[in-house]
């Protein structure tokens, strides 16, 4: 269970959001909506511990994440706006690296086959199109059996077929009692979605 209470964030120009709070039970899906610059990415980074939350509290299974951030992060897969891929390395080398880091070699093949990456495994990432690079990045979701997925605009550069593959993956994760939080402008086709419009938390 993921609980956020009274999260606030401000920068040099003022308040980005204030008093954001929600509780997500296992098997929940939350889509964070809001205009550009409204703080969707910052909120996701806050949830994963990349940005320190100076106000409010984030709990994972009723334990403050700051008490043992490293253990909490072992439960999280965060897909950021940029693809965390080394362009000089092949698709295989990139995925193999993340497998070793997560200690999950047995999940390598399912990740490759779900996104149909078997034909591009030996190609350097820099030679792939932006859409294919995004698919390689999203394959990391399957490389670790984490309970919490935080996805920042995962659909960018994906064609309709790849978006459907991603939606299938999210549905399965939610059905398996995982928690998925997505910052997105247009990922349609997901059932039982909770929405959070972060724009509304600017002046509360």
């Amino acid at each position: 269970m993921l609980t956020c209470q009274n999260l606030s964030l401000e920068n040099n120009y003022g308040i980005i959001f204030k008093n954001v709070g929600f509780t997500l039970l296992p098997g929940s899906l939350l889509i964070i909506k809001g205009a550009n610059g409204s703080g969707k990415t910052c909120l996701l980074k806050m949830l994963v511990g990349l940005i320190e939350h100076k106000a409010g509290k984030i709990s994972w299974n009723n334990i403050d994440i700051n008490k043992d951030l490293q253990s909490f992060q072992q439960n999280v897969c965060y897909i950021g706006h940029n693809n965390a891929l080394k362009k000089e390395l092949t698709v295989f080398e990139n995925l193999d690296f993340w497998c070793k880091l997560r200690g999950s070699n047995e999940l390598f093949l399912p990740a490759i086959y779900h996104f149909k990456l078997h034909n591009v495994l030996d190609l350097n990432v820099e030679s792939l199109s932006a859409g294919w690079q995004r698919k390689v990045e999203l394959a990391r979701l399957l490389l670790s059996q984490t309970n919490l997925w935080l996805l920042d605009e995962p659909e960018i550069n994906l064609d309709k077929i790849a978006q459907d593959l991603l939606i299938d993956l999210i549905k399965v994760r939610v059905r398996e009692r995982g928690i998925v939080v997505i910052a997105s402008h247009g990922l349609d086709g997901l059932p039982y979605v909770n929405y959070l419009d972060i724009q509304g938390f600017k002046n509360e």
Partner: protein, 224 residues
């Protein structure tokens, strides 16, 4: 820790040696500056040959400082660094693997150049080669640790390499002078027992600098 350490080390070395040639940039820089320095200093003065090992220290340190940008910057730019930091692994193991990767790339240059210089300038130091390598090994490890810390500290700053160089320069100069005096002692065949004490002191300095750099770097990365 073992998995993370080996995975990062292997990935960084593959990139540096086989893909974008960071190693060859450092090697080329080191070779050109060493040859220029030797040709300038030894012009008409063959005695300078006695301090050849001191002469290679300066290009080595410049090569180490210039390669500071390759330690964390690329990972920072493509978001790999943030993924490493949230992978649930200890940031200390990440820092150690980065230091070792940087150190290996640069120590290989010394490993090749010392016997090559001995051969070219007909210097018979093979009996003392172990001591020379020990001094250079410790120096290079300290420098890689310091440079890694400075590189983490200046990640968000544009042209951070220059600031990194300025941060580590004072400690680097102290180490440089100390190792230069050890190398002079070796080439001049000064009492072996004094040399051993000098190398022990250098070992202590290396351990202290490395530990402080690892802990400080790990702390800085958590705050990025």
């Amino acid at each position: 820790m073992n998995n993370v350490f080996v995975a990062i080390l292997k990935r960084d070395l593959v990139i540096a040696f086989l893909r974008n040639g960071y190693f060859f940039n450092s090697l080329a820089f080191f070779s050109i500056t060493t040859l220029l320095l030797i040709s300038i200093l030894s012009h008409g003065d063959p005695k300078v040959n006695l301090n050849l090992f001191n002469v290679i220290l300066l290009p080595y340190i410049f090569a180490a400082l210039l390669s500071a940008s390759t330690i964390f910057q690329a990972d920072f730019n493509d978001s790999t660094l943030e993924q490493l930091l949230i992978s649930g692994n200890s940031s200390i193991s990440i820092v150690i693997s980065k230091i070792i990767a940087h150190w290996l790339q640069l120590f290989i240059i010394l490993l090749i150049s010392v016997p090559l210089l001995c051969f070219i300038y007909d210097i018979n130091l093979f009996l003392n080669l172990f001591n020379i390598y020990m001094a250079l090994f410790l120096l290079s490890l300290s420098i890689s640790s310091l440079v890694t810390f400075a590189s983490a500290l200046t990640l968000r700053i544009s042209n951070g390499v220059i600031i990194s160089c300025l941060i580590v320069m004072p400690l680097t100069i102290i180490l440089l002078l100390y190792v230069a005096s050890i190398l002079s002692s070796i080439t001049e065949n000064i009492d072996f027992s004094i040399l051993i004490i000098d190398i022990k002191i250098l070992l202590v300095l290396t351990v202290v600098f490395s530990l402080i750099s690892i802990l400080a770097c790990s702390y800085v990365l958590k705050k990025i």
